[in-house]
Protein backbone atom coordinates (compact mmCIF):
# COMPACT_ATOMS: atom_id res chain seq x y z
CA UNK A 1 0.00 0.00 0.00
CA UNK A 2 2.88 2.35 0.88
CA UNK A 3 4.51 1.45 -2.41
CA UNK A 4 1.36 2.37 -4.32
CA UNK A 5 1.06 5.68 -2.45
CA UNK A 6 4.69 6.46 -3.26
CA UNK A 7 4.06 5.61 -6.93
CA UNK A 8 1.03 7.93 -7.02
CA UNK A 9 3.11 10.73 -5.47
CA UNK A 10 5.73 10.26 -8.20
CA UNK A 11 2.97 10.36 -10.87
CA UNK A 12 1.67 13.64 -9.42
CA UNK A 13 5.21 15.06 -9.24
CA UNK A 14 5.82 14.07 -12.89
CA UNK A 15 2.54 15.71 -13.91
CA UNK A 16 3.47 18.93 -12.09
CA UNK A 17 6.94 18.91 -13.69
CA UNK A 18 5.41 18.46 -17.16
CA UNK A 19 2.81 21.18 -16.57
CA UNK A 20 5.46 23.69 -15.47
CA UNK A 21 7.60 22.50 -18.39
CA UNK A 22 4.81 23.32 -20.82
CA UNK A 23 4.24 26.66 -19.12
CA UNK A 24 7.96 27.47 -19.45
CA UNK A 25 8.04 26.48 -23.13
CA UNK A 26 4.95 28.58 -23.78
CA UNK A 27 6.57 31.61 -22.12
CA UNK A 28 9.81 30.88 -23.97
CA UNK A 29 7.99 30.61 -27.30
CA UNK A 30 6.34 34.00 -26.84
CA UNK A 31 9.67 35.57 -25.83
CA UNK A 32 11.32 34.32 -29.02
CA UNK A 33 14.52 32.34 -29.62
CA UNK A 34 16.30 30.08 -27.17
CA UNK A 35 16.07 31.74 -23.74
CA UNK A 36 16.03 30.85 -20.04
CA UNK A 37 12.37 29.81 -20.23
CA UNK A 38 13.12 27.25 -22.96
CA UNK A 39 16.10 25.99 -20.95
CA UNK A 40 13.87 25.68 -17.88
CA UNK A 41 11.27 23.80 -19.95
CA UNK A 42 13.85 21.30 -21.19
CA UNK A 43 15.15 20.88 -17.62
CA UNK A 44 11.64 20.23 -16.32
CA UNK A 45 10.96 17.65 -19.04
CA UNK A 46 14.20 15.87 -18.09
CA UNK A 47 13.05 15.90 -14.44
CA UNK A 48 9.72 14.47 -15.58
CA UNK A 49 11.48 11.52 -17.28
CA UNK A 50 13.28 10.69 -14.03
CA UNK A 51 10.10 11.05 -11.93
CA UNK A 52 8.11 8.92 -14.40
CA UNK A 53 10.80 6.21 -14.17
CA UNK A 54 10.42 6.25 -10.36
CA UNK A 55 6.62 6.08 -10.73
CA UNK A 56 6.76 3.06 -13.05
CA UNK A 57 9.14 1.38 -10.62
CA UNK A 58 6.44 1.53 -7.93
CA UNK A 59 3.12 1.03 -9.75
CA UNK A 60 1.63 -0.58 -12.88
CA UNK A 61 1.68 1.40 -16.11
CA UNK A 62 -2.05 0.64 -16.47
CA UNK A 63 -2.58 2.87 -13.40
CA UNK A 64 0.15 5.46 -13.96
CA UNK A 65 -0.48 6.29 -17.62
CA UNK A 66 -4.21 7.16 -17.43
CA UNK A 67 -3.42 9.35 -14.42
CA UNK A 68 -1.00 11.37 -16.54
CA UNK A 69 -4.16 12.97 -17.99
CA UNK A 70 -4.03 15.14 -14.84
CA UNK A 71 -1.56 17.19 -16.85
CA UNK A 72 -4.56 18.64 -18.74
CA UNK A 73 -5.85 19.86 -15.37
CA UNK A 74 -2.52 21.28 -14.20
CA UNK A 75 -1.89 23.07 -17.51
CA UNK A 76 -5.39 24.61 -17.47
CA UNK A 77 -4.95 25.86 -13.89
CA UNK A 78 -1.43 27.22 -14.51
CA UNK A 79 -2.50 28.85 -17.80
CA UNK A 80 -5.40 30.51 -15.99
CA UNK A 81 -3.34 31.91 -13.12
CA UNK A 82 0.07 32.58 -14.73
CA UNK A 83 -0.78 33.33 -18.37
CA UNK A 84 -4.24 34.83 -17.67
CA UNK A 85 -5.70 32.56 -20.35
CA UNK A 86 -9.45 32.10 -20.44
CA UNK A 87 -10.59 28.66 -19.27
CA UNK A 88 -14.14 28.05 -20.46
CA UNK A 89 -16.86 26.29 -18.47
CA UNK A 90 -16.70 23.39 -20.94
CA UNK A 91 -12.99 23.01 -20.18
CA UNK A 92 -13.66 23.09 -16.41
CA UNK A 93 -16.26 20.34 -16.99
CA UNK A 94 -13.63 18.27 -18.80
CA UNK A 95 -11.27 18.86 -15.88
CA UNK A 96 -13.88 17.58 -13.43
CA UNK A 97 -14.30 14.39 -15.50
CA UNK A 98 -10.52 13.85 -15.62
CA UNK A 99 -10.15 14.37 -11.85
CA UNK A 100 -13.03 11.94 -11.17
CA UNK A 101 -11.55 9.42 -13.61
CA UNK A 102 -8.06 9.59 -12.16
CA UNK A 103 -9.42 9.22 -8.62
CA UNK A 104 -11.19 6.03 -9.72
CA UNK A 105 -8.09 4.73 -11.53
CA UNK A 106 -5.91 5.50 -8.50
CA UNK A 107 -8.23 3.97 -5.95
CA UNK A 108 -9.27 0.92 -7.97
Amino acid sequence: MATKALGLIFVLAAVIAEAFGQLSLKMGATSGGINRWVAAGIGLYTLEIVLWTFALHEIDVSIAFPMSALCFVAVAVLSHFYLKENVTSKRWLGIVFIILGTCMVGSG
Binding site: T53, F54, L56, H57, V61, I63, P66, G94, L100
Partner: protein, 130 residues
Protein backbone atom coordinates in the same frame (compact mmCIF):
# COMPACT_ATOMS: atom_id res chain seq x y z
CA UNK B 1 -15.85 16.40 -40.00
CA UNK B 2 -13.15 13.78 -40.36
CA UNK B 3 -13.91 12.78 -43.95
CA UNK B 4 -11.83 15.61 -45.46
CA UNK B 5 -8.62 14.41 -43.84
CA UNK B 6 -6.29 12.44 -46.07
CA UNK B 7 -5.21 8.88 -45.40
CA UNK B 8 -1.76 10.02 -44.21
CA UNK B 9 -3.38 11.87 -41.28
CA UNK B 10 -5.13 8.66 -40.22
CA UNK B 11 -1.90 6.68 -40.62
CA UNK B 12 -0.13 9.30 -38.49
CA UNK B 13 -2.82 9.07 -35.81
CA UNK B 14 -2.62 5.26 -35.76
CA UNK B 15 1.16 5.51 -35.52
CA UNK B 16 0.85 8.07 -32.68
CA UNK B 17 -1.31 5.73 -30.58
CA UNK B 18 0.90 2.71 -31.41
CA UNK B 19 4.12 4.57 -30.53
CA UNK B 20 2.61 6.00 -27.34
CA UNK B 21 1.65 2.47 -26.30
CA UNK B 22 5.03 0.99 -27.26
CA UNK B 23 6.93 3.73 -25.40
CA UNK B 24 5.00 3.20 -22.17
CA UNK B 25 5.20 -0.61 -22.30
CA UNK B 26 8.92 -0.66 -23.08
CA UNK B 27 9.57 1.99 -20.40
CA UNK B 28 7.73 -0.14 -17.84
CA UNK B 29 9.61 -3.27 -19.02
CA UNK B 30 12.93 -1.44 -18.67
CA UNK B 31 12.13 -0.31 -15.13
CA UNK B 32 10.81 -3.74 -14.17
CA UNK B 33 14.19 -5.27 -15.05
CA UNK B 34 15.74 -3.35 -12.15
CA UNK B 35 15.44 -4.82 -8.64
CA UNK B 36 12.45 -3.58 -6.66
CA UNK B 37 14.82 -2.89 -3.75
CA UNK B 38 17.01 -0.56 -5.81
CA UNK B 39 17.73 2.92 -4.47
CA UNK B 40 16.80 5.89 -6.73
CA UNK B 41 20.43 6.18 -7.91
CA UNK B 42 20.67 2.42 -8.57
CA UNK B 43 17.37 2.60 -10.46
CA UNK B 44 18.59 5.39 -12.75
CA UNK B 45 21.91 3.60 -13.28
CA UNK B 46 20.14 0.28 -13.94
CA UNK B 47 17.79 1.88 -16.49
CA UNK B 48 20.64 3.64 -18.31
CA UNK B 49 22.51 0.32 -18.67
CA UNK B 50 19.69 -1.34 -20.60
CA UNK B 51 19.54 -1.26 -24.43
CA UNK B 52 15.73 -1.29 -24.17
CA UNK B 53 15.88 2.18 -22.59
CA UNK B 54 17.60 3.59 -25.68
CA UNK B 55 15.00 1.87 -27.87
CA UNK B 56 12.36 3.63 -25.76
CA UNK B 57 14.06 7.00 -26.28
CA UNK B 58 14.27 6.32 -30.05
CA UNK B 59 10.53 5.57 -30.16
CA UNK B 60 9.90 8.68 -28.04
CA UNK B 61 11.69 10.81 -30.63
CA UNK B 62 9.81 9.09 -33.48
CA UNK B 63 6.60 9.86 -31.59
CA UNK B 64 7.59 13.55 -31.31
CA UNK B 65 8.31 13.96 -35.04
CA UNK B 66 5.22 11.97 -36.04
CA UNK B 67 3.07 14.16 -33.75
CA UNK B 68 4.51 17.37 -35.22
CA UNK B 69 3.75 16.03 -38.71
CA UNK B 70 0.15 15.15 -37.73
CA UNK B 71 -0.36 18.60 -36.17
CA UNK B 72 0.88 20.26 -39.35
CA UNK B 73 -1.90 18.54 -41.32
CA UNK B 74 -4.89 18.49 -38.95
CA UNK B 75 -6.62 20.49 -36.22
CA UNK B 76 -5.53 19.91 -32.63
CA UNK B 77 -9.16 19.67 -31.51
CA UNK B 78 -9.67 16.80 -33.95
CA UNK B 79 -6.50 14.79 -33.31
CA UNK B 80 -6.22 15.18 -29.51
CA UNK B 81 -9.29 13.08 -28.57
CA UNK B 82 -8.21 10.36 -30.99
CA UNK B 83 -4.74 10.06 -29.48
CA UNK B 84 -6.38 9.88 -26.05
CA UNK B 85 -7.22 6.34 -27.17
CA UNK B 86 -3.71 5.52 -25.99
CA UNK B 87 -5.14 5.62 -22.43
CA UNK B 88 -7.15 2.57 -23.48
CA UNK B 89 -4.46 0.88 -25.59
CA UNK B 90 -1.73 1.25 -22.93
CA UNK B 91 -4.00 -0.22 -20.25
CA UNK B 92 -5.25 -3.04 -22.51
CA UNK B 93 -1.76 -3.95 -23.73
CA UNK B 94 -0.34 -3.83 -20.19
CA UNK B 95 -2.95 -6.39 -19.16
CA UNK B 96 -2.25 -8.50 -22.25
CA UNK B 97 1.55 -8.29 -22.43
CA UNK B 98 2.68 -7.37 -18.91
CA UNK B 99 -0.04 -9.33 -17.11
CA UNK B 100 -1.19 -6.33 -15.09
CA UNK B 101 -4.65 -6.28 -13.54
CA UNK B 102 -7.34 -3.65 -14.11
CA UNK B 103 -10.49 -3.50 -11.99
CA UNK B 104 -13.95 -2.49 -13.24
CA UNK B 105 -13.63 0.77 -11.25
CA UNK B 106 -10.36 1.60 -13.03
CA UNK B 107 -11.95 0.85 -16.42
CA UNK B 108 -14.79 3.27 -15.62
CA UNK B 109 -12.18 5.82 -14.51
CA UNK B 110 -10.36 5.53 -17.86
CA UNK B 111 -13.70 6.07 -19.65
CA UNK B 112 -14.32 9.24 -17.58
CA UNK B 113 -10.82 10.50 -18.45
CA UNK B 114 -11.62 10.01 -22.16
CA UNK B 115 -14.84 12.03 -21.71
CA UNK B 116 -12.83 14.77 -19.96
CA UNK B 117 -10.23 14.89 -22.75
CA UNK B 118 -13.08 15.11 -25.29
CA UNK B 119 -14.62 18.13 -23.49
CA UNK B 120 -11.25 19.88 -23.23
CA UNK B 121 -10.44 19.28 -26.91
CA UNK B 122 -13.79 20.81 -27.90
CA UNK B 123 -12.70 24.15 -26.45
CA UNK B 124 -9.39 24.45 -28.31
CA UNK B 125 -9.24 27.71 -30.25
CA UNK B 126 -5.56 28.03 -30.96
CA UNK B 127 -5.27 25.89 -34.10
CA UNK B 128 -5.73 27.31 -37.56
CA UNK B 129 -8.16 25.77 -40.04
CA UNK B 130 -6.32 23.53 -42.51
Amino acid sequence: MSSHYRIDVWVGLGLAVALDTAVQLSWKSTVSNVSTDASPLELVRGVLQQPLFYGTIAMFLMQFFNWMRVLSKAELSFVQPITAMSYVSVSACSVWLLHEHITVLQSIGIALILVGVFFISQTSTMQKEI
